[in-house]
Symmetry: C2
Subunit: 221 residues, 2 copies
DNA sequence: GTCTATAGCATGATAGAC
DNA sequence: GTCTATCATGCTATAGAC
């Protein structure tokens, strides 16, 4: 709540603590506990006491590992970024990029449905990072990571030059990500499974179309 | 922070206060102050004292008009929903629905760029409502209001039956809204104006395509 | 590295004068 | 309807024993 402190450049840690094996473990447990508490109660109701309880750690231990509540929150976001790629490692495998888009979007959609509160928590954290002076780069990195990952999943056709592949892949990835984020908010607000499913299919068609258009432009050059 | 209180069914007010002219004015000032404080500092840092200061009202006055901080927050969201329609009343006018989509999306995009913090605050509040037991309906109503509004903006072709017009219009509106929300998050995270502009155009093409497809299906029947 | 204990202050909310 | 004053509690963070 206090604003006197200067923002943490490094979200990872505040102290040099956590070098030993047990230390690393405890640090991880704190982050996990914070994430769970955040998922359960939302950022507005999150307190260090809840984090400690959720991590099964005494209150003072939090501050041995982290400078402040802010540092913990940013570390949770960092953890989510790191976890992201591993979540989908049962990856789609279709040969055609357009089919991969469809598979990927349906897979993501399934995962989102299973992790509602985590999705909400992640958006809360993104907004928190955007608000926190000195932490905007974290939100940027989060999106960068998602875009890189999706991009690589969609386009790996060696017939296209590396440069163009990356340009187009990232554009499609950004488009996909826009749809996914918007879909999360809308689905949880409307809670109409039927309508959500329709939107996913519409998003698939749109993303495919966008990819096709970008590739066609490429041909014409 | 306490959870003992039972949730407010009505977000509008908590007490019967605010019947007089001055009372209504003060109530409005509190809501406006709360919104401004929220826009400036984010929900995580929002306190009743900040709200009071921002509304130029003493702390106790807040509680004369509202049962709790929660009630104030939900009232702010309600206010945003009410303001929504008026924001775009300089409405697009093209005759062709597809052109209206383009105009509308570019207009919305401009407005969003001018009100960055308000957009973030609104998403924060939506998530807060989704978290708050008994207030989920507010998030739903918010989306319903947006969808109704966009729907009506896009489709008013009398050549189509009322029922179909509404079905298609709402589907397109939902699609647009997904794009807009996703775009808000991504743009503020990446803060790349160039890339954002591209995404808006991609979204326009996609939304037009979606409308066209829905209308074609309609023809075939 | 983790604990107990507590400092020191901010918080949401209320009592009661005017 | 708005104020001053204050309560009870919860908050983040720290000191210091083990």
């Amino acid at each position: 709540m206090k604003a006197k402190r200067q923002p943490a450049r490094e979200a990872s840690s505040g102290k040099s603590a956590g070098a030993t094996k047990k230390g690393i473990e405890t640090r991880a447990r704190i982050i996990r506990g914070a994430r769970e508490a955040l998922e359960n109660d939302g950022i507005e109701a999150l307190t260090t006491r809840k984090i400690a309880a959720s991590a099964n750690v005494r209150l003072a231990t939090l501050h041995y590992y982290f400078d402040s509540k802010e540092t913990i929150l940013l570390a949770v976001l960092e953890g989510m970024i790191a976890d992201m790629a591993t979540s989908y490692h049962t990856a789609p495998l279709a040969a055609d990029p357009e089919d991969r888009i469809a598979e990927l979007l349906r897979l993501i959609w399934y995962y989102i449905g299973e992790t509602r509160n985590r999705q909400i928590a992640q958006i809360e954290l993104t907004l928190y990072a955007l608000r926190t002076r000195g932490a905007e780069w974290l939100a940027e990195r989060q999106y960068g990571a998602y875009i890189d990952f999706y991009s690589q999943m969609i386009l790996n056709d060696p017939a296209i030059s590396q440069e163009e592949r990356e340009r187009i892949g990232k554009a499609v990835a950004r488009f996909m990500l826009i749809g996914i984020d918007g879909l999360i908010l809308q689905t949880f607000a409307l809670h109409d499974e039927e309508v959500a499913k329709e939107s996913v299919e519409a998003l698939i068609v749109a993303t495919r179309g966008y990819l096709r258009r970008l590739l066609q432009k490429e041909q014409v050059r």
